[in-house]
């Protein structure tokens, strides 16, 4: 946790989000709390389906309205609870103060609207009347490395990487203070991934943007993030600075995650995948959600909510066998 006495720029408290699917309630996000300051980057890591995207969409309040809702918690941005804002106030924030980069560039752009207009639209929504939105959109195209004359083209004339640049241009057109990037490079060719990531980071540095980076690529986390939150089944199981998480992972799940990454320095025969599957979000296990897959699990893990343990330097871990495991690791 940041130590400054000022309020953090973004502070999510006990966020709970559910949606209904086939009559069952999917517990997507279960009491997530996190903080993020301007100019900093927080990585949200975890498996597919762990609720990372839902957290981002909850912050922006753009969950698909069929059956999904934010059940509890707060999203404080500069001290204002976004969840209490009326829709028209929230609309002024979306795309302006907070914006989001989506996972799949192939489907994130409107196929029947010119790419330039898609950028100009967000500018127009959030700038003073009389602003030359087209000019601004062209500038943004140049910023993300696309010639301005392609303003008038349609998404189908762009490659995947170019589309993602347009998505980024849309997200950054209004100089957001908070950027939510949902696996911005997953759908791209490996060769373009680094370029796109560099672009995001450069722009972040330039505008002092707070960046919430959702990814399951630990390599990206290592190069880009300041802090890391490890998500499992809609819970944050471990939170700390990048160094803390990488050098001293404490939660069995985090340790397992690193076990699943090949280590270049050692000559390993086998990777160590985590046994079992993530739990069914409609029927989460009681107690620690990870206990069915955890080799350290005891009876204590199967009951009640697990209290987070935070060390003096802000390294949080939600595990009731923390002491035993860290002793074992040493």
């Amino acid at each position: 946790m940041p130590e400054n006495q000022n309020m953090p720029f973004l502070s999510v408290k006990d966020l709970v989000t559910e949606y209904k699917s086939d009559g069952k309630i999917v517990h997507a996000v279960n009491g997530v709390s996190l903080t993020l300051d301007r100019g900093r980057t927080l990585g949200l890591v975890g498996e597919t389906g762990a609720g990372k995207t839902t957290i981002a969409k909850s912050i922006m309040r753009i969950l698909p309205d069929v059956g999904s809702k934010i059940v509890g918690g707060q999203v404080l941005l500069d001290g204002r609870n976004l969840l209490d804002l009326p829709e028209h106030e929230m609309r002024k924030i979306r795309g302006n103060t907070i914006s989001m980069i989506f996972q799949d560039p192939m489907t994130a752009l409107n196929p029947v609207q010119r790419v330039g207009e898609q950028i100009a639209e967000v500018v127009k929504l959030h700038s003073d009347p009389g602003t030359d939105c087209e000019q601004r959109a062209k500038e943004m195209l140049e910023v993300v490395g696309i010639p301005a004359e392609r303003y008038y083209e349609y998404p189908h004339q762009f490659s995947g990487g170019m589309k993602q640049r347009v998505v980024i241009a849309i997200a950054l057109a209004c100089n957001p203070l908070l950027l939510l990037a949902d696996e911005p490079t997953t759908a791209l060719d490996v060769t373009i991934q680094a370029q796109v990531m560099d672009l995001i980071v450069d722009l972040q540095k330039k505008f002092q943007t707070a960046l919430l980076l959702i990814t399951h690529d630990m390599g990206v986390v290592a190069t880009v993030c300041d802090d890391v939150a490890v998500i499992y089944a809609g819970h944050i199981v471990e939170f700390g600075s990048k160094e803390q998480i990488f050098d001293h992972p404490t939660h069995p799940y985090t340790i397992g995650l690193f076990g699943a990454i090949p280590d270049m320095n050692e000559d390993e025969m086998w990777l160590h995948p985590i046994e079992g599957l993530p739990p069914d979000p409609t029927d989460l296990p009681e107690g620690c959600p990870f206990h069915p897959r955890c080799k350290h699990a005891t009876d204590a893990c199967k009951h009640g909510p697990i209290a987070p343990v935070t060390t003096a330097d802000g390294h949080m871990c939600r595990c009731c066998r923390l002491d035993e495991i860290s002793k074992e690791a040493n």
Partner: protein, 324 residues
């Protein structure tokens, strides 16, 4: 784009020639002696024989067909009605315009109300608005238009006396009941189509992108979702329009509205075959033009389809080069 339109127009030529041959052939095998139809049953054998020669009926089928086609396509003359002797080409414009007014008014009512109804249903999926709209749509599809016409006449003409039940003397008011009876089914289909294609689109990622930009919900639906959902709706418009051109016959008969439908129906009942042939050809041309218009609408709505049309042109150009 211009070349695409030209290509499509050229394609219409063989189709229309085909329609002409088909209809001409069907009329030829229709029962009844044309000479007797024209002169009536009291005519003498000599008169009948003379009439047959005059009509060229003693000549072989192919010769008659050839003559008819050269009249129609080279001199734009559809011949004269056997019954009234009036030139068919001269009668058609006025009647066609009435059928078109009826079709357009119907289309405007059906899609003007059907699309918003479908959008409401889609944006309130599984809520009461959805159920009510879809029950209405199911009923609308089920009610035969000619029966609805009778019911509307009972209500608005007989009981209330608000609107005329027949003729066109009352100007546009005369078209209200015919258009209403015609539009119920079309409206229902439009609403169902709109709902289902909006549901397909509404969960697309680019809709989330639009919301994330801070676009007001109303605009998300009308500007982003609807335009993407339009293609199947436009297809529906095309089929509806085609059905209206042909199906107008029943409605025009009920309301004695002297459009193309009534013209052709009366001709069929009086065995006035040149009128049936002429009517069929003109309706087929109108129908093909409408379909072309629909294809152009696709291109106007979706740049990908426009690009396809353009690249089809390029592809052909390549083929031509390769052949040369």
């Amino acid at each position: 784009m211009g070349r695409y339109i030209l290509k499509r127009l050229l394609w219409m030529i063989p189709i229309i020639l085909g329609v002409t041959i088909l209809v001409f052939a069907m009329m030829t095998v229709c029962p009844g002696d044309p000479a007797e139809i024209i002169l009536g049953s009291t005519a003498t054998q000599a008169d009948l024989a003379a009439k047959r020669t005059q009509l060229g009926l003693d000549q072989p089928f192919l010769v008659r067909l050839g003559k008819y086609m050269s009249d129609v396509f080279l001199r734009f003359d559809l011949g004269k009605s056997w019954i009234t002797g009036v030139s068919i080409s001269a009668s058609i414009p006025e009647r066609m315009s009435r059928t078109m007014i009826l079709a357009i008014v119907t289309l405007v009512i059906a899609f003007g109300l059907g699309i918003p109804l479908g959008i409401t249903a889609a944006t309130h999926q599984n809520k009461w608005q959805d159920s009510v709209s879809m029950v209405l749509a199911l009923i609308g599809v089920a009610i035969p238009n000619f029966w609805l016409a009778l019911l509307l006449i009972i209500l608005f003409s007989v009981k209330l006396g608000w609107l005329p039940a027949m003729g066109i003397e009352a100007g546009l008011a005369s078209y209200i009941l015919p258009a209403l009876s015609n539009s119920a089914g079309a409206l229902a289909n439009a609403a169902r189509q709109t709902r289902s294609s909006m549901l397909d689109v509404i969960r697309a990622d680019y809709i989330t992108t639009a919301r994330a930009k801070g676009v007001p919900e109303r605009e998300v639906i009308t500007k982003h979702a609807l335009k993407n959902a339009m293609i199947p709706i436009i297809t529906q418009m095309g089929t509806t329009f085609g059905r209206l051109l042909g199906g107008a016959m029943v409605i025009e008969t009920i309301f004695s509205l002297p459009g193309m439908g009534l013209y052709v129906i009366n001709a069929v009942n009086n065995r006035d075959y040149p009128v049936v042939q002429g009517g069929a050809i003109v309706l087929a041309i109108a129908f093909s033009l409408a379909m072309l218009l629909i294809d152009l609408l696709y291109a106007a709505v979706d740049p990908r389809i426009k690009a396809q049309y353009a690249s089809a042109k390029k592809g052909n150009a390549k083929k031509v080069k390769a052949n040369a």
